[in-house]
C-alpha cells in the first residue's frame, strides 16, 4: 500500500469484465502477484456495462482513480461490447480532461483471462500514477476552492 506522509492512501475502483479482466485479476491472485490493496474490484459482465455515471459517482464519493478493464478488442465475450466501451470511455475521459481534471485518474486497459501479470503490472502502474497525482479534489468540489 502506498502511504504518504499524511497517511493518505488512494482509493481506486477497478471495473473488470467478468470474462477476461476479472479472470485476469484472479490469475494475478493465483500467481501471488502483488499489487496495492488500494485497488478494489467491481465485477461487471462486460466493459460496456460501465456507465459513466458509475465513474462520476465513484469520484464524487471520494475515489482517487477509476480504471476500466475489459477483454481485448476483438475478444469480447459479447462480440462488440468493448468496442462501444472504448468509444464511450474515450469521450468521457476527453470531456473530463477538457474540464481540467487530471488525465491520470482515469484509464482503460484490456486484460485477457491469461494476462495475470499484465493485470498486476497495470494496477501497480495505475496506483503509482494516482499516488503521484495525490488526492482527488477537483472532482469533488469544482466550485468553491478558489
Amino acid at each position: 500500500m502506498s502511504v504518504s506522509n499524511t497517511g493518505w492512501t488512494p482509493k481506486i475502483v477497478a471495473f473488470c469484465c467478468n470474462w477476461c479482466s476479472y479472470a485476469g485479476a484472479d490469475l494475478a491472485g493465483s500467481g501471488r502477484m502483488q499489487y496495492p490493496a488500494d485497488v478494489k474490484i467491481i465485477r461487471v459482465p462486460c466493459s460496456c456495462r460501465v456507465n459513466p455515471l458509475f465513474i462520476l459517482r465513484a469520484f464524487e464519493r471520494g475515489a482517487d482513480g477509476v480504471i476500466i478493464c475489459g477483454c481485448h478488442p476483438g475478444d469480447c465475450h459479447y462480440t462488440s461490447g468493448n468496442y462501444y466501451a472504448r468509444r464511450r470511455m474515450t469521450m468521457l475521459f476527453s470531456l473530463l480532461d477538457y474540464l481540467g481534471i487530471e488525465r491520470g485518474r482515469t484509464r482503460v486497459e484490456w486484460v485477457s483471462a491469461a494476462e495475470g501479470a499484465k493485470f498486476a503490472k497495470t494496477m501497480n502502474e495505475f496506483v503509482e500514477t494516482v499516488y503521484t497525482l495525490g488526492e482527488n479534489r477537483k472532482l469533488r468540489d469544482i466550485r468553491c476552492r478558489k
Binding site: C20, D26, P45, A58, H77, A114
Partner: protein, 663 residues
C-alpha cells in the same frame, strides 16, 4: 430491511494466512442489514455448506454473502446451497477475498482491512438484489463440427452414434485432414491410412452425419443451444451427386501444373482432381486457377469424358443456413514454414525437407511411390540428418518460432529414423536433439528401440549451419556430450518443424467469440477441469486446435468433446441466465438507441399502453427478449433515461458497491 448473513471462509491458510478472518466476521456484524456473521475453515465443504443452510433457517435470512475465493470458483456452489435451503439462488453474493485479497497482499492488517471493504461492498450490493427466476430456452439437437480431420471425424462419429445429427464442415475437398497424409503412426507403426480411412467411410455412411466439404463457416449467430451458422460451400464445378470418382477426368485433363497439396506440393496434379484415392467424398474438384476451360473458355475435355455428366462449369458458391445446438472446433494444425530460419537452408535446398514432406516421400501413395528418394536428383540418400525442435521452444523475444514444445516431433522423428534404418539398413541416420521427450504409453520404449535396436545416432546438440557442397549438404552442429563440433556430409536433411494452428483458426475464434491464446490455440474453460470446453458456452474443442497433441490424445479429446456435446444435446431445454436486461416502460422514450448496440438483436419496439402514476397512454417502448439477451449491458449505458437496466447488475447494485468501496 432484508436480513443478511455473512460467511467468511478461511480457505485453510489461503485466506486466514493474510486476513484476520475473525476480525472480518466481527466487523461485518456491525454492518446494517447483517444479522449473522461467522467464519469457518472451508465454507465450500459439506460442513461449511451445512453451516450456511442452518443459518438461513435459524435467522430467516433473505440473502447471504460468502467472503471466500473468486465467484468464478464457487458462486454456483453457494447458489445451490442457498437454493437447497429455500433461498433464491440470486440472493447470494461472493466477496472475493482470496484471489483479489489474501493472495496478493502480504500485510495481514492491510489484507484484513481490504477484506472488510470487499465484504461490505458485497452486502451493499446484496441489499439491492432481487430474487431472480431463470428462464429456459430450447436446444437445437444438431451439432456443427468445424474441421474434418481425425479430431472432427471422431467427435462426429461419437455424437452421431448417440443419435444426434452432426454436420462436418471441412475446408478442403476431402475429410481426413493431416492424419491422412501420414505414412505410419507411432508407437505401433501401423499404417495411418489403414486405421483412418475406415473411420472416414464410417462417417460418410452414418446417416446422422452430413459431410459438407470444400466449405467454410462464414457467420455464426445465436448462443448455446441456438446457434445459426451460414456455411459457404465453394463451387467444385462438379455435381457431387453424379460424380462416381472414376478419375477418368484426371487422366485426360491437359492442365497438369497444379501443385499437389496432399503431397505437400512435391509433385503436380491435374486441374481436375481427387486429392487422394480414399478421399471422402470421393468426388472430383476443379481448381479454377488451373482449369483451361474456366480461365479461357476453351478445352472442356473433362466434360466430354465424364460419362456421369457430373461436370458443371457454371456451378456457383452455395450458402447454407443451418441451426445447431453445439459447435465443436476441430481446426487442427499445419507445419510451420521453416524458411525464415535461413541457416537451415530450407528455402534454397530441395533436399532440406520437413517431416511432413518426408511422410509423403515414404508413403506408397506419395510422389515417389514409397521409395525413399531425395527430391533434388531422386537418388537414394545414404546419410540422413534429422534436426529436432525446429521453430519450437523459442523465446518470444526472438523471431525464431513458437514458444511452446510441439510435443509430437520427438516421437515422429524416432519413427522416421527407425523406419528408414529398417527399410534401408545401409543408410546412416543422425538425429540432433535438445531433449528427447517421450511421455506416453510405450513411447520411451519406442525411442530406445530406435537407438538400441536400429542404431540411430542421436547427437545431443543443435545444428548451426546447413550448406550445400556439391551434391552433399554439409551439416555442422554441436555434439555437447563429446564437447566437439561435428560436420556431417548428408544427402538429406529433415526438419522436425513446429506445428501451428491452422490459419483459419483465428477468424473462427473471433466468429464464435471463443477465446484464444497468443499462439492462436483455443483456450479451454479450465486448464485442468474443463479441458474440452471453450469458456464460451456451447463451443467445444477437439484436437490440436486446443494445443499440440498426437493421434491417440486427439482421439481421446475428440471423444471427450463429443461426450460434452451429447450431454448438452440430450437436454430439451437449457436454463437461461436470468441476469438479462429489462426495460422500464414508464421511463422508456422508445428512442431506439439501445437496439443499435445490442449484439444479439434481443431488443424490439412495440406500441403499448403504458400505465403508471398519472400516466395512461400508448407509447413506443423497448422490449427485451430474455431468451436472446445474454446480459452484456451495452443497452443500459446507451439508454439516456435509465429505463434499461440489467438484472443482477443493476445501476443501484453497482452504485451501492461503488459507494461501499469509496466511503
Amino acid at each position: 430491511m432484508p436480513k443478511i448473513g455473512v460467511f467468511v471462509c478461511w480457505c485453510g491458510s489461503n485466506i486466514a494466512g493474510t486476513v484476520d478472518v475473525e476480525a472480518v466476521s466481527e466487523a461485518m456484524k456491525t454492518v446494517p442489514g447483517v444479522v449473522f456473521s461467522t467464519n469457518y475453515q472451508y465454507m465450500c465443504s459439506a460442513a461449511g455448506q451445512k453451516m450456511i443452510a442452518d443459518a438461513i433457517h435459524e435467522y430467516h435470512l433473505d440473502g447471504i454473502v460468502v467472503a471466500s475465493c473468486s465467484p468464478r470458483m464457487h458462486e454456483n456452489t453457494f447458489r445451490k446451497t442457498a437454493q437447497a435451503a429455500g433461498l433464491n439462488p440470486y440472493m447470494v453474493e461472493i466477496a472475493n477475498i482470496r484471489e483479489q485479497c489474501s493472495w496478493i497482499h502480504k500485510d495481514k492488517e492491510e489484507g484484513t482491512r481490504k477484506a472488510i471493504v470487499l465484504a461490505k461492498a458485497a452486502v451493499a450490493k446484496l441489499l439491492h438484489n432481487q430474487p431472480l427466476q431463470a428462464g429456459t430456452s430450447a436446444v437445437t439437437k444438431r451439432c456443427l463440427v468445424i474441421g474434418g480431420g481425425i479430431a472432427g471425424i471422431q467427435t462426429a462419429l461419437d455424437v452421431a452414434n448417440a443419435g444426434y445429427e452432426v454436420d462436418i464442415v471441412e475446408q478442403r475437398p476431402t475429410i481426413g485432414g493431416r492424419m491422412a497424409q501420414l505414412d505410419k503412426t507411432f508407437p505401433t507403426l501401423d499404417c495411418s491410412a489403414c486405421i483412418l480411412t475406415p473411420k472416414m467411410v464410417e462417417a460418410a455412411q452414418n446417416e446422422k452425419i452430413r459431410i459438407i466439404s470444400y466449405a467454410k463457416v462464414e457467420k455464426v449467430e445465436g448462443f448455446v443451444g441456438n446457434f445459426r451458422a451460414t456455411i459457404r460451400k465453394k463451387a467444385r464445378f462438379i455435381d457431387e451427386n453424379k460424380c462416381t470418382g472414376c478419375s477418368l477426368c484426371m487422366q485426360k485433363c491437359p492442365s497438369k501444373k497444379g501443385r499437389d497439396e496432399f503431397n505437400m506440393e512435391m509433385n503436380n496434379r491435374p486441374a481436375i482432381y481427387i486429392p487422394f484415392a480414399q478421399a471422402i467424398p470421393n468426388v472430383a474438384v476443379i481448381d479454377p486457377e488451373q482449369c483451361i476451360k474456366l480461365k479461357s473458355g476453351k478445352c472442356g475435355l473433362c466434360e466430354k469424358v465424364c460419362s456421369a455428366g457430373a461436370i458443371n462449369y457454371q456451378q456457383k458458391d452455395e450458402l447454407l443456413e443451418r441451426e445447431y445446438g453445439a459447435i465443436v472446433v476441430a481446426t487442427g494444425f499445419r507445419p510451420m514454414d521453416p524458411s525464415p530460419l535461413n541457416e537451415l537452408g530450407y528455402a534454397e535446398n530441395k533436399d532440406v525437407i520437413t517431416s511432413l514432406e518426408l511422410e509423403r516421400l515414404m508413403n506408397a501413395a506419395g510422389p515417389t511411390k514409397g521409395t525413399l528418394l531425395r527430391p533434388s536428383d531422386l537418388k537414394h540418400p545414404r546419410e540422413i540428418v534429422f534436426i529436432q525442435c525446429v521453430g519450437s521452444r523459442c523465446d518470444e523475444n526472438t523471431n525464431r518460432g513458437k514458444p511452446y514444445c510441439s510435443k509430437i516431433c520427438c516421437m515422429y522423428t524416432a519413427k522416421h529414423a527407425m523406419l528408414i534404418r529398417d527399410k534401408y539398413p545401409d543408410t546412416n541416420v543422425h538425429v540432433f536433439y535438445i531433449d528427447v521427450r517421450t511421455p506416453g504409453k510405450n513411447f520411451d520404449e519406442f525411442y530406445r528401440r530406435a537407438v538400441e535396436q536400429y542404431g540411430v545416432d542421436y547427437i545431443k546438440g543443435m545444428v548451426g549451419k546447413v550448406a550445400r557442397e556439391g551434391d552433399k549438404l554439409m551439416v555442422r552442429g554441436s555434439d555437447l556430450i563429446n564437447n566437439r563440433q561435428v560436420e556431417i556430409a548428408a544427402d538429406l536433411v529433415v526438419l522436425a518443424t513446429a506445428i501451428e494452428p491452422d490459419p483459419s483458426a483465428r477468424s473462427i475464434g473471433t466468429m464464435l467469440t471463443a477465446s484464444m491464446d497468443t499462439n492462436d490455440f483455443f483456450t479451454e474453460a479450465h486448464a485442468k477441469l474443463r479441458p474440452v470446453e471453450s469458456p464460451t458456452a456451447g463451443i467445444f474443442l477437439s484436437g490440436v486446435a486446443q494445443g499440440p497433441k498426437d493421434v491417440p490424445e486427439t482421439v481421446a479429446q475428440a471423444s471427450a468433446a463429443a461426450s460434452k456435446v451429447i450431454g448438452l444435446l440430450a437436454k430439451d431445454h437449457l436454463v437461461t441466465n436470468p441476469c438479462v436486461a429489462l426495460s422500464d416502460e414508464l421511463l422508456c422514450n422508445g428512442c431506439s438507441q439501445c437496439e443499435k448496440v445490442c449484439p444479439y438483436g434481443a431488443i424490439t419496439y412495440e406500441n403499448r399502453e403504458v400505465r403508471g402514476p398519472g400516466v395512461r397512454e400508448v407509447r413506443r417502448v423497448a422490449r427485451v427478449n430474455p431468451a436472446v439477451c445474454q446480459g452484456c449491458g451495452a443497452c443500459t449505458v446507451t439508454c439516456p433515461s435509465g429505463a434499461m437496466d440489467l438484472k443482477g447488475f443493476t445501476n443501484q447494485q453497482i452504485m451501492a458497491e461503488v459507494d461501499a468501496i469509496c466511503l
